[in-house]
Symmetry: C3
Subunit: 159 residues, 3 copies
Amino acid sequence: RSGEMAKSTQLIDNEVFRAYATYTAIVLLKMMLMSLVTAYFRITRKAFVNPEDVASFAKGESAKKFLRTDADVERVRRIHLNDLENIVPFVGIGLLYALSGPELSTALLHFRIFTGARILHTLAYLIPLPQPGRGLSWAVGYAVTASMAYKVLKTVFYP
Amino acid sequence: RSGEMAKSTQLIDNEVFRAYATYTAIVLLKMMLMSLVTAYFRITRKAFVNPEDVASFAKGESAKKFLRTDADVERVRRIHLNDLENIVPFVGIGLLYALSGPELSTALLHFRIFTGARILHTLAYLIPLPQPGRGLSWAVGYAVTASMAYKVLKTVFYP
Amino acid sequence: RSGEMAKSTQLIDNEVFRAYATYTAIVLLKMMLMSLVTAYFRITRKAFVNPEDVASFAKGESAKKFLRTDADVERVRRIHLNDLENIVPFVGIGLLYALSGPELSTALLHFRIFTGARILHTLAYLIPLPQPGRGLSWAVGYAVTASMAYKVLKTVFYP
C-alpha cells in the first residue's frame, strides 16, 4: 500500500499543487491565446512577414505590400514576449514554491494575484490603457514571483 | 521501506512521467538546436548584430557591412521564437498533465503528435514549404497542448 | 506514516532537488532582472516603443522623438531573449535530470557551472567584453544543459 501511496499522482492530491496546476494552466493558456490574436491582426491588417504566407492571394509586386509591419501586430507580439518573460519565471518558481510547503491560503493569494495581474496587463497593453495601468499590473506580477522565489530560497537553499 | 519508495526518483519510475521526460528532452533539444542554426546562418551569411562579434575580422567602415539583418537569419530567429511560444506551454502543461494520471496510451499519443508536429513545423518554416504546411503543423501542436490543458483543468481544478 | 512520507514536500527534502530549486530560482531571478535593466535603459536613454509610455511627459511631435530604438536598450533585450532561449531548457531539462537520480556532487557541478556561465554571459554581453568571452560563456551553459539531457534520455528513455 505504501507503494500505491507513493505513486506520482499523489502530487495532484495536494491542494497547493492543485492550485498551482490550475493557475499555471490558466496563465499558459492566456499566453497561448496571444498566438491567435497575432494571427487575427496579421490577417485583418494584412501584415505578414513570410513570403510563403501571402503566396496564395498575391504574387510579385502586389505580394510585397503585404510583407510589412503593422503597429497593432507589433503590439500583440510585444504582449506575447512580455508574457514569456514573466510567465516562464512564474511557472518555474511557482512549481518550486508549491513544493516548498507554503500555507494553502498564502499560496492561493500568490497564484490568484499573479493571474489577475497578467490578465490586466494584457488588457492594459491591448486597449491600450493610459500608463501607469500597464506598468502597475506588470509590477504586481513581478513582485508576486519575487515573493515566491524568496520563500523557495529561504526554504531549500542548498548552494 | 515506505520511505525508500517515497523518494523523488519514484516519479521517474512512472511510465507516463518517463514518456513525458523523453519527449520534453527531445523538443527542448530541438529548440536548442535553433541557436546553432542561427549561428551557422550568421557566419555563412556574414550577418551579425553586435559590433564585438565582427571586431576580429573587420574594422571601422568594413565592419559596418557585416552588421546587418539577413532574411535567412531572421527566418531562423522566428522559428526559435515560435518554439519558445509553443514549447514552453507544452513543457509546463505537459508536466501537470503527466501528473494528473492520464492513460499511458493517451499520454503517449499527445506527446508523440506534439513532438512530430513541432519537427514538421521547423522543417516547413526552414525549407520553406508552401502554406498551409507550416500553419497546419503549428495548429496540431497547439491543439495537443490545449487538449492536455483541458484534461489538467478537469482533473485538478482548484481556483 | 507512509502516507505522510509520500507528501509532495518530500521532493524538497531530496538534496539534489533542493540544489536544483536553489539554482533554478537564482537563474530565473537573474533573467527577471533583465526587465529592470531594460526599464532603466529605456528611461535613461529616453527610448520607448509605446505611445502611451511617453504621453505623460511629451505630446505630439515632441513625443515622436522618444519613440525610437536605442543601441543599449536593444542590447539588453537581446540578453533577455538569449536568457529565455537558454534558461528555459535548463529549467525543464534540469527538473527531469534532478528526478533521474544523479549523484549529488555531479548535479551540483552541472547547476553551479550553468549558473556561473549565464552570469558571465550577461556581464560579457552587457559590458561588452571582446569575443570569444560571450561566445564561450554561452557554449558552456549550452553544454551543461546538453549533458543533463543526455543523462535524462539515457535514464528514462520511453519513446
